[in-house]
C-alpha cells in the first residue's frame, strides 16, 4: 500500500457524487504514483507555452509548490501568502483589485506518475472585489493532480473566478472548489475542462448569508477516450439567495462527459431562486453524456427550474455553412464554438473573455479566430 493513497480523498464505497467517476481506475493510478518532485526545472517560457500569457500578474506553482522566480509581483491590494500548506490570496476589506490575477498550477512530473496537491485559499473580505483566473496545465507526462481551491467571500464582496484545466493528455485531475458566501456577496465562477485523461471537478457552494448570489458556468470538452465529470452542489442555507448553473458539454470520439447538479434549499429559508441548465452536444456516435439534476427542496417559498438537453450538430446549420464554402471540419468547429459561446461570452473581464475564447478554440475546437 502506497502512503499516498491515504492522502487523497476517494470514496470507499458507492457514492452518488462519484457515480460517473471511474474511482477504481483512479485508485490504481494513485497507488502507482509517487510524490511529484519539488524542485522541477520549469522555465518562464515553458509556463508561457503551457498556461498561455494572459498579460496580467502571474502567481505560479509547480507541482503544488510556489515558484517565486516564475511569479510576478502581486498587484496592489492583494496579500499573498505562498504556503505551504496552502497558498492564500487575501483581499482586504473594501479593496477593489482592478487587475485580474492569474494563478498557474504547473504539473511537471518525472517518468513515474507524480502526485501534486495544489492548495489555494482566496479570501475576499467584506466589500472586496477581485478577479482570479486559475489555470491547471502540465508537461506531457503522467501527472496526478489533487487540487483544492477554497473561496471565502465576505459581506457584499465579489469574485469572478475562472478555472481552466488543460493538463496533459495522460493526467488525472481531481479538483474541488469550495465557495462560502456571506450576506449580499456575489460570485461568478466559470469552470472550463479541456485536458486530462480522467478529470473530475466538484464545486461546493454554500450561500451562508442572506441575499447571496452565485452564477456557475461550466464547459467540458472531452474527446478521444477522455472522461470529464462535473459535480456541482449549491446549498441555499439562507434566505433570498440566487443561484444559476449553466453547464455545457461537447463530447467527441469515444469520450464521456457528465454533469450532476445538486441544489439544496434549507428548511426555514424564503425567497430562494435556483436555476440549472445542462446542455450537451455529442459529436460522434460513440460519445456519451450523462446528466443528473438533483434537487432537494425543503422550503415552500422557493423558485427552482432545471433543464437538460443532449443533442447532435444540426444538419441544416452544417449544410448552410458548407454551402457558403466553409469546409466541413471548420463548419463543425464554428457550430461548436457557437454552442459554447454563451459560457465564454459571460466572462466578465473583456481581455480574460477574449483570451479564454481564443485558447478554447485553439486547444479544443481547432478553429482559428
Amino acid at each position: 500500500m502506497n502512503v499516498l493513497a491515504d492522502t487523497v480523498a476517494l470514496p470507499s464505497g458507492r457514492e452518488e457524487r462519484w457515480k460517473y467517476t471511474p474511482v477504481a481506475e483512479i485508485a490504481a493510478a494513485l497507488r502507482a504514483s509517487i510524490p511529484a518532485p519539488i524542485a522541477a526545472s520549469v522555465s518562464r517560457s515553458l509556463v508561457d507555452d503551457l498556461a498561455g500569457d494572459l498579460g496580467c500578474p502571474r502567481l505560479v506553482f509547480v507541482n503544488g509548490v510556489h515558484a517565486p522566480v516564475l511569479s510576478d509581483e502581486a498587484p496592489s491590494g492583494i496579500t499573498i501568502e505562498p504556503g505551504p500548506p496552502a497558498a492564500a490570496l487575501v483581499v482586504e476589506r473594501d479593496v477593489e483589485v482592478v487587475m485580474p490575477i492569474h494563478v498557474v498550477h504547473v504539473s511537471a512530473p518525472g517518468d513515474l506518475r507524480g502526485l501534486s496537491r495544489p492548495r489555494l485559499v482566496i479570501d475576499v473580505a467584506a466589500g472586496g472585489r477581485i478577479s482570479v483566473i486559475e489555470t491547471y496545465c502540465g508537461r506531457p507526462a503522467p501527472a496526478f493532480t489533487d487540487a483544492s481551491t477554497t473561496i471565502r467571500v465576505g459581506l457584499a464582496g465579489h469574485i469572478d473566478h475562472v478555472r481552466l484545466q488543460w493538463e496533459a493528455a495522460d493526467a488525472i485531475h481531481l479538483g474541488r472548489t469550495l465557495v462560502e458566501q456571506a450576506a449580499a456577496s456575489s460570485t461568478h465562477l466559470t469552470s472550463v475542462t479541456v485536458g486530462s485523461d480522467i478529470a473530475r471537478h466538484q464545486i461546493d457552494v454554500r450561500l451562508r448569508g442572506v441575499d447571496a448570489r452565485v452564477a456557475l458556468d461550466g464547459l467540458y470538452l472531452p474527446t478521444g477516450q477522455q472522461r470529464h465529470d462535473n459535480v456541482v452542489v449549491v446549498d441555499h442555507a439562507a434566505s433570498g439567495g440566487t443561484s444559476t448553473q449553466c453547464f455545457k458539454g461537447v463530447v467527441d470520439g469515444g469520450a464521456r462527459g457528465s454533469f450532476s447538479g445538486h441544489v439544496i434549499v434549507r428548511p426555514g429559508t424564503v425567497g430562494n431562486d435556483a436555476q440549472q441548465t445542462n446542455r450537451n452536444l455529442l459529436l460522434s456516435p460513440r460519445a456519451e453524456a450523462d446528466t443528473r439534476p438533483w434537487l432537494e427542496i425543503f422550503a415552500d417559498d422557493v423558485r427552482c427550474t432545471h433543464g437538460v438537453t443532449v443533442g447532435r450538430l444540426d444538419d441544416d446549420a452544417l449544410f448552410y455553412l458548407r454551402s457558403r464554402g466553409i469546409p466541413i471540419a471548420q463548419s463543425r468547429g464554428l457550430l461548436v464554438s457557437g454552442f459554447i459561446a454563451e459560457i465564454v461570452d459571460a466572462i466578465t473581464h473583456a481581455p480574460v473573455r477574449e483570451w479564454v475564447a481564443a485558447e478554447v478554440a485553439r486547444r479544443a475546437l481547432e478553429v482559428p479566430r
Binding site: 441544416d316 455553412l321 458548407r322 464554402g325 464554428l334
Partner: protein, 249 residues
Amino acid sequence: MLRIEHLTVAVAGKAIINGLDLDIGTGEVHVIMGPNGAGKSTLANVLAGRDEYDVSGRVEFDGRDLLALTPEERAAAGIFLAFQHPIEIPGVGNMYFLRTAVNAVRAARGLDEISARDFLGLAKEHMARLEMDPAFLSRSVNDGFSGGEKKRNEILQMSLLEPRLAILDETDSGLDIDALRAVADGIERLRGPDRSFVIITHHRRLLDDIRPDRVHVLSGGRMVRSGDHALAIELEAEGYGPTLAAASA
C-alpha cells in the same frame, strides 16, 4: 454554364424529381415557378449539394460533374443558394461567419485572404446598398432576424461571395415592399454577362423588376412548360390549372 440531364431525385424512396432537363447559359436569368410540392426547393438543394437525397442523372457546371462535388467545393466553384428558410446559428457572429465564408471561397479560388479590417469595410459597403444596419454584423447569424432581415442577409452573402450561378429559393416570399425592392436591387446589381441566376418564386412582382430570360413551370418533378416573361404574367392571371391540365392531357 449549367446543364441538367435526366435528373431524378428521391427522398426515402419517394420520387420528387422525375427526369428533369434544364440548360442555363452564361449570363441568363431563369425563373422556376410551380405549385407547392412540385420539387422546386428539392432541385435547389440538390444543386447546392445537400446529401439527404438519392440522386441520379447528370449535372454539368462549367464542364464539371457537379454531383461529385461537396457543398463547399460547389460554393468555391461558384454555386450559391439563397435559402428559402435561412438558418439561425446562435453564438456565431455574422461578421465572423461572412468573413470565414469569403476567405474559404477565396482560398479555394487561389486568392489571398481578406483581413478583418478590409472585410469590415467591404461588408459595410454592401450592407449600405442593401439598406442593412451594420449592427447586423455583430449579431449571431440570422438569430432573431425578421424574415426580411434574413433574406437581406442572404443577398448580402451572395454579393460578398460573387457566385457564377445564384439560385434563389423563394427569396421574395414574405417580404414587405421595401425588402422586396432591396432584394430585387441586390439581384439587379449582380446581374452581368458572366453570372447566371435561377430564381424560384411564386410571385410575378419580383419578375417585373428583373425581367428573366426564361420562365419554367415545374410540376410533378419535371418541367411542364417553358416560356418568356409573358408566361409569368399569364400564370399569375390564370393560375397553374390550365398549364397542368394541358401537361397531363
